[in-house]
Every structure is written in C-alpha cells, then in structure tokens.
C-alpha cells in the first residue's frame, strides 16, 4: 500500500488533535499549524509529481481490496486540486497569523482550520461516494464552526442560513447515496461506473440529476447559489478567503468527477451548458447592484463557477483541460481578491464602496495587489484569466457551442465593469475616510508584514500561472485525458 496517499488527510488531522491539547493562543500552536500545512503541501506536490509521472495512484486502506474496502485514488486532476488547495490553505494561514485580530475573533481558529484542510484533501483523494459524503461533512462542519466562531449577530444570522442549506444538501446527498446503493449495490466510484451501465437509462438520468443537484448546491451554480453572497461576507477575512477560494470548487470538483466517471456523455451536454451560461450571466448581474467589496466579490464566485461547468459541459479533452486550468487560476485569484478586500477593510474600517476612496494615494502597494487579480479575473492578457478563458473559448468554438461562448465573453466584459466599479470607488477619488492619512501607524494593519506578504505571494503566484501557463496547461490536458478516458482509473482501483 502506498503510504503517501493518505498523508494529506492524516497530517492535518493529527496536527489538529495536537493543537487541541495546547493553549489556543500560544506561539507553539501557530508554529505547529504552519509546519503541518507545509508538510501537507510537500506531500501533495510529491503525489502530483508521481501521478503525472506514472499514472493513477491508488491505495486500499486496511488492505481490503476495492470495491469492498475503502480506496484512495490520486490522478493528475486530484493531484492538481490537492496542491493548489493546500497552497491556499498555507497562504491564508500565514495571513491569519499575521492578523492580530484573528485570536480575538476566533479563539480556536487553528485546530478547526486544520480539520477543514483535512476535509478538503479527503474530498479530492477519495474514490468512494460515501467517503466523499463524509469528507464533505468534515469540511463543512469545520466551516460552520469557522464561520460562526465570532458569535456576533451578523455571523449567527448568516451562519444559520449557511448551516441549514448545507445540511439540506447533505441530506439530499445521503438520499442520493441510498438510492444509488439500492439500484447498484455499491458506492465505490469505479465499480459504480461499471454497474450504472446496466441500470435503465431513465433511472440513471434521475440519479445523475440528483447528484448534480446535491453538488450544485455546494458549487453554488444557478439556480442554487442564493445562499452564497448572503453568508460568506460576514466571516473573518481569512475564513471568507479560504471559503471563497476553495469550498465551492470542491463542489465543482465533485460535479466534474461524477459526471465524467459515472454519467459520461458523447457530446456536449445541453443541460450542463445551459446551467453554465445561466450561472455566468445571473452571477455577474448580482454585483451591479451591490455596494460592498466582499459582497461584490462573492457574487463573482458564482459567476466564475459557471465557466468551470462550461468547460465540463463540452465533454471534450480541450474543454475539460481549459476548465481545470480555469479552476486553478480561479482558486488563486479569488483568494487574493478576498485577502485584499480584508486588508482594505482593516485599514479603512469599512467595506462599503462609498465610504472609501483614494486608497491609491495612501497605499499604492495595495492598489497593485488589487489590480493584478482583478484584471486576471476579468480575463485581460497577459494574466492567468486570459489564458484560461482563451482555452475555454477555443474549446467552445471547436465544439460548436457558439451561444455559450458568446455569453462567456459578454460576462467577461461585465466582470471588468464590476472590477472598475470597485477600482474607481476604492482607489481613485479623494481620500476617504478623511482621517486615513493622519492616523497613527499602528492603526494601519496593512503594515503587518505577514498579511501583506501572504497576499503578495499569492498575487505573484497568479502572475506566474499566467506567464508560465504552458507547463500547467499540459498538466491540465493530461488530467482531462485521464478524465475522458478513465481506463487508468478503473485499472488502479479494480485491478487489471
């Protein structure tokens, strides 16, 4: 058995257990969480390198062979997701440690955060539908706690919506698992893919739609996104950033995994493409009316998730490769944007656009940190978003889905508009709040080097994704090839 495979889950869980025994505010606990996350990142990178090198890796826990035992699988797609998610977890952790208010806002931040990291990794490496449910729950339960750790009025209200919606989708997930088990007698994904072929087409469509509904709520795609812009902005910045960057992408990951493996389609799927177009379009209309940085950005999470579903809906290698590249670009860019939003809020004491202004004159560095990911989000060259969208548009034109391509380009334009709205509201104009320039230095939390450093590191990473897109695109294409032709996956799980 390959001992390295479970490491991205085991390391953070062990770390969380150790942290619970320590004083939550001590320096030791911070060091431990950084070290553990870093070790997880190293393990993930090694896993990705091996998966890219020698094909799909698998491990049977406890030595019971699939489909009886619990199987873990890492292919290039899960490897990429593991690496990028752990990198974000590490960067945001550094940001949270740099923020002097983290401990006051969230007393038990570190152990819960590590549990969240374990849940995230578990979602990516599991090869079993029920374990996917368990991994989701580990991740979600930690996220409930993180979101409401502050315990103030706004958090409790938003947390309530979030928990109820998530629990509802989890119950639907259990229902789907129960029905799938009743129809096929297995929950192992590879085994399911084989046995679902024998099920009648009507039943298969029903099960597929039910799973799409479940993951659609988690991924916040149209029409199931309403909970997201409502609940995300109230949590502390570090928490919102990691939610925005990663949690919905796990839903997208699950949609891609189940749709390609269990319910493959020969050509473009009209249902997925329609959902993608509507998600992009409706998601981008939301921010037009909004007046708060974090709420504007939250709506963009929805809109950008549509692009990923667009890549999947084409059901071509080129489309999936562009979709996977888009996820990686998006995870980084979204996390930076929320971190910058947090820095803005910390230095001005507000997140309302009309109460801020002229930040460019006070802190040019912050303006640059915002401009890079914002232009990337809109898809301007030479940033990473341009490469990702170019890939999607090319794949869409090849597959002949011109309408969705048109929608995606139009939505890019509206995204740019929305970013310029933040830009002109926050960075241009006369300096607001008026006393910002004359405040004593220690009230400028922006000067916390760890926070700015973590944000800057991620901004550089997003630039790197844009400039060194070639190798990453090759990896995404390799991942897409494995998804479209899952014979390697079957062989790794079920044996030759």
């Amino acid at each position: 058995m390959n001992l390295l495979l479970p490491m991205p889950v085991i390391l953070p869980l062990l770390g969380a257990a150790v942290l619970l025994a320590l004083h939550p505010r001590s320096r030791v606990s911070r060091v431990i969480s950084v070290v553990v996350t870093f070790a997880t990142l190293v393990a993930s990178i090694v896993l990705l390198a091996r998966a890219a090198d020698s094909g799909v890796l698998s491990a049977d826990l406890g030595g019971w062979p699939a489909p009886v035992g619990i199987t873990l699988v890492v292919d290039v797609f899960s490897g990429l997701m593991l690496v990028i998610s752990t990198a974000m977890v590490l960067a945001v952790l550094v940001y949270a440690i740099g923020n002097p208010r983290t401990d006051d806002e969230a007393e038990f931040f570190h152990p819960v955060y590590l549990t969240l990291a374990a849940g995230l990794s578990a979602c990516f490496i599991t090869a079993d539908l029920f374990n996917l449910f368990v991994a989701f729950e580990v991740m979600l339960t930690s996220s409930y706690v993180l979101m409401t750790l502050g315990g103030n009025k706004a958090q409790v209200r938003a947390g309530m919506t979030y928990v109820v919606i998530s629990l509802l989708s989890s119950l639907l997930f259990i229902t789907a698992i129960g029905l799938i088990y009743a129809a096929t007698g297995t929950v192992n994904l590879a085994d399911l893919a084989v046995r679902l072929q024998e099920v009648s087409p009507g039943l298969r469509t029903a099960l597929g739609t039910l799973l799409l509904l479940v993951f659609g709520i988690k991924a916040a795609i149209f029409p199931l996104f309403f909970w997201l812009p409502d609940s995300y902005p109230t949590a502390p910045t570090a928490v919102t950033a990691i939610f925005a960057g990663l949690l919905t992408k796990v839903g997208v990951y699950a949609i891609i995994r189940t749709q390609t493996l269990l319910f493959p389609s020969d050509g473009p799927s009209p249902l997925l493409l329609t959902l993608a177009a509507l998600t992009m379009f409706v998601g981008v209309l939301g921010p037009m009316a909004q007046n708060e940085v974090k709420r504007i950005l939250s709506f963009h999470i929805v809109s950008q998730n549509g692009y990923m579903i667009f890549g999947l809906g084409l059901f071509t290698v080129a489309g999936l490769a562009a979709g996977i590249f888009f996820i990686i670009h998006q995870v980084v860019v979204k996390t930076v944007l929320f971190l910058v939003g947090g820095l803005l809020e910390d230095s001005t004491g507000t997140s309302a656009l009309h109460k801020m202004g002229g930040i460019m004159h006070v802190s040019p560095a912050l303006a640059v940190l915002f401009a890079v990911p914002a232009l990337s989000l809109a898809g301007l060259p030479p940033f990473s978003g341009f490469v990702a969208k170019l890939g999607l548009v090319q794949a869409g034109v090849e597959a002949g889905s011109f309408l969705v391509v048109g929608v995606s380009l139009f939505v890019s334009l509206l995204t740019l508009f929305s970013m310029t709205k933040i830009w002109s509201g926050v960075f241009w104009g006369k300096i607001q709040p008026e006393d910002l320039e004359n405040r004593p230095k220690d009230e400028h939390l922006v000067t916390s080097p760890l926070m700015t450093g973590a944000t800057a590191a991620l901004a550089v990473l997003s630039l790197a994704i844009g400039f060194a897109a070639g190798p990453l695109f090759e990896l995404s294409t390799q991942a897409a090839n494995q998804l479209m032709d899952p014979s390697g996956y079957f062989e790794a799980v079920l044996g030759p």
Binding site: V164, I174, I177, G178, Q290, H354
Partner: protein, 123 residues
C-alpha cells in the same frame, strides 16, 4: 413490512420539507431532523430485506443481511446528530442575541431591494 417502512420514509420527508419551509428556527431544525431520519431509514432500506446477523459460521452468507448500508446509516446518524446539536447551539445563541426565534432578513439585501436609502447616502 418494507412497504410500511417506505411509506414512513415518504411521510418523514414530507413533514420535514413542510417544517423546513417555516419561518421559526426551531421548526426548521425539527424539520431537518425528520428529514435526516427519513434519509437514514432510506439507507437502511437500500440494503434490501432483513436477514440473519452477520456472524461467520452461524448462517449461510446468502442469508446475511447486508451490513454495508447499516454501517453507512450509522455514520450518517452520527454526522446528522452532531450537526443538529451545533444548529441547536447556534439557534440558542441567536435567541440570546435577539430574543426572537424567526429567521432574520438579510439587511443589506433589503436595503438594496429598496435602493433609495443607498443613493441618499451617497449624497
């Protein structure tokens, strides 16, 4: 017997859905708990009819009841139990803060829907 259980699953889901659509938090939580019971019962039913206990040597393997859905249901029960407890604590916190059991409106949303105050503020 299975028909009775199947009907029970249906009734649990139906009442759960009705309660989740209410405005009071306590009802929503009870509704979610009922749906959770329905889902767990469904998992159990997914394993087929009742069989003998799974002890090697005491019966033929063909007569065993399927242990996997039971294990799944057990896991699901633990998880929904934990989350329901968390939700109860959260609603208690909400009661302490507001002395009200209603699910609150999103204020920013309301403000945007009316729109006027926003423009007034900008002037």
């Amino acid at each position: 017997m299975t028909l009775v259980l199947a009907l029970a699953v249906g009734v649990l889901y139906a009442t759960g859905t009705y309660l989740v659509l209410q405005r009071k938090l306590t009802r929503i939580i009870i509704g979610l708990a009922m749906m959770a019971h329905g889902a767990n019962l469904l998992l159990l039913l997914a394993g087929g009819g009742a069989g003998t206990p799974v002890f090697v040597g005491e019966a033929l393997p063909a007569d065993f009841s399927d242990p996997l859905p039971q294990a799944l249901a057990l896991t699901a029960i633990v998880i929904t139990f934990g989350v329901t407890a968390f939700l109860l604590a959260l609603s208690f916190r909400s009661w302490l803060l507001r002395h009200d059991d209603d699910v609150e409106d999103d204020l920013e949303d309301r403000r945007l829907a009316r729109r006027k105050p926003l423009e007034a503020e900008q002037k």
